[in-house]
């Protein structure tokens, strides 16, 4: 890798490493047997929570960039989005493998019958096309407008993710309510801005090569 490329991608690599730390802590804990009495539950909760946190972080980029005067944040939007997808994939894999042990029939029933699983699956499926089209090549192929329209699926992914969490808890709704409040705030920031602002900058400034 050339020095120029390295310099250009270093910030993203640092952000990725930072947000991969929770995964390494989980792996370390799993093999050290230090994740508590129910390690599978712990892994499920942690990967799910990090998916939501990273989705919200991704959604925070645009409002922060505009309102807080941090235009450079855009460089991290794709990284954060891909990390969210990665944790979502791990979360799903935990369910498929460690929780259901590839019992496809049981999982099919779950997805149809259990609304919190339906919502979770919806959130994940909404992220798949976003991860697949996250490259500059796809922005060109879909055209700025088309790409942007497709990537509005992120709102569905985040909302379904919060609902998934909300429908899962038994009675103490503090945590999902907190995620829901942050999501509502981020959406509100968008609505307010949209009225006043000129059309957005072309999306091709996103991503970083």
């Amino acid at each position: 890798m050339g020095m120029a490329v390295l310099r250009k991608t270093l910030p993203q690599m640092l952000v990725s490493s930072a947000f991969l730390a929770p995964l390494f802590l989980l792996l370390y804990g799993f093999f050290r047997d230090s994740l508590g009495p129910n390690p599978v539950e712990k892994i499920t909760h942690e990967t799910g929570q990090w998916t939501l946190r990273l989705l919200l972080a991704t959604l925070a980029v645009t409002p922060l960039r505009r309102c807080a005067g941090m235009p450079w944040l855009i460089r991290f939007r794709r990284t954060l989005g891909l990390l969210a997808f990665f944790y979502g994939l791990l979360h799903l894999l935990t369910y498929v493998w460690l929780d259901q042990f590839f019992d496809w029939k049981a999982m099919g029933r779950d997805i149809l019958k259990r609304r919190f699983i339906t919502a979770g699956m919806m959130s994940f499926l909404a992220m798949v096309p976003l991860a697949l089209t996250s490259t500059r090549g796809w922005i060109v192929r879909l055209g700025g407008k088309g790409w942007q329209r497709l990537h509005r699926l992120v709102y569905l992914a985040a909302a379904a993710g919060v609902v998934h969490f909300w429908w899962l808890v038994k009675s103490d709704i503090r945590e999902p309510a907190l995620y829901g409040a942050v999501l509502a705030l981020l959406m509100l920031a968008r609505l307010k801005k949209k009225g006043r602002q000129a059309p957005r900058a072309p999306v091709s400034t996103s991503g970083s090569g």
Binding site: G36, P37, D172
Partner: protein, 304 residues
């Protein structure tokens, strides 16, 4: 977490300096602190029983570190952390209602009411995990008989201790307290139904429902009400906390049944704590030979 503003305390509550200093001296002189010793007090003269032979016990650390006790927080590790200072002495249990001899028992009296037995039971939580626990106690029937239920008594209603000052986390649990549970009288009198005062050979740790809790091994764990202060024999089916909170998800009976799903998840399998993969859940948690007759002719889908 939130707490009361310390600056809002009146001066009358401030400990005088000399008391505060002398208490430090006293504590220092008493090391190791007796309160800690009391937390792991052994129970003597326990009769071993044949229940649960061949079952692999769930480690002590998991039994006492992974709990649902919403008065002390809704996280599994919260009760072990937050129940430390629960005062379990003095403690009384009131037995009343449709009985000939309503009585208030002191906890130390309860401990001597009947010979203590160790019984290894499977414990299945409605959330889909399970444990194997060596409980110590005696059949609930022994206590109920002392109060002599009258002919009107058809159900038993239980109530937990609740003190918001000792249980500040309860405010966030999302369910009302005091916690209430109930059984049909024949379920309550069944020899498997255990009044528990200990586990693993020692006095019941606070996070497990000290000083006195119920264990009904063929029902989901939440039926095993903790830190009991009141037992009332009644004519009609009593209200129970989780059933009130969500009647579709938590029935009055709540017998372990792999065929009847919780609306949000399947009950067909369970994860035994300490095992990676799930095992099949058994009807009545495997105690069908002993208890199935209690529900003969009943539609278990309707009376879940």
């Amino acid at each position: 977490m939130r707490g009361r503003n310390p600056f809002s305390l009146p001066w009358s509550m401030v400990t005088p300096k000399h008391v505060y200093l002398s208490r430090r001296r006293v504590l220092a002189s008493l090391l190791p602190i007796p309160a800690v010793a009391a937390a792991t007090q052994r129970l003597e003269g326990i009769r071993k029983t044949g229940y649960g032979q061949g079952e692999k016990l769930t480690p002590y650390e998991a039994v006492t570190g992974y709990n649902n006790f919403y008065e002390f927080g809704t996280g599994k590790e919260d009760p072990a952390r937050n129940a430390k200072n629960l005062r379990t002495r003095p403690w009384t249990v009131r037995v009343e209602g449709e009985v000939l001899k309503p009585r208030t028992f002191d906890i130390d009296e309860v401990l001597k009411l009947a010979p203590l037995e160790e019984r290894i039971y499977r414990h299945r939580c409605v959330e889909g995990w399970s444990m194997v626990v060596p409980w110590i106690g005696f059949p609930l029937a022994e206590l109920l008989k002392k109060a002599e239920p009258n002919s009107n008594a058809r159900f038993v209603a239980f109530e937990s201790f609740y003190d918001p000052r000792q249980m500040p986390q309860a405010a966030w649990a999302g369910i009302p307290f005091p916690y209430m549970e109930g059984l049909r009288l024949d379920e309550a009198m069944h020899p498997l139904t255990l009044l528990v005062v200990g586990l693993y050979g020692e006095i019941l740790p606070n996070q497990n429902g000290a000083p006195l809790r119920l264990i009904v091994p063929w029902k989901y764990g939440f039926k095993g009400i903790k830190s009991i202060v009141r037992i009332r024999l009644v004519k009609n089916q009593p209200p129970t906390t989780w059933n009130l909170a969500n009647p579709r998800e938590y029935g009055f009976y709540s017998n372990v049944n792999p065929q009847v799903d919780h609306p949000r998840w399947s009950q067909a399998k369970e994860r035994r704590i300490g095992e990676l993969f799930k095992r099949d859940t058994l009807l009545f948690n495997g105690y069908g030979n002993e208890v199935a007759h209690l529900y003969e002719g009943m539609d278990l889908r309707k009376y879940y």
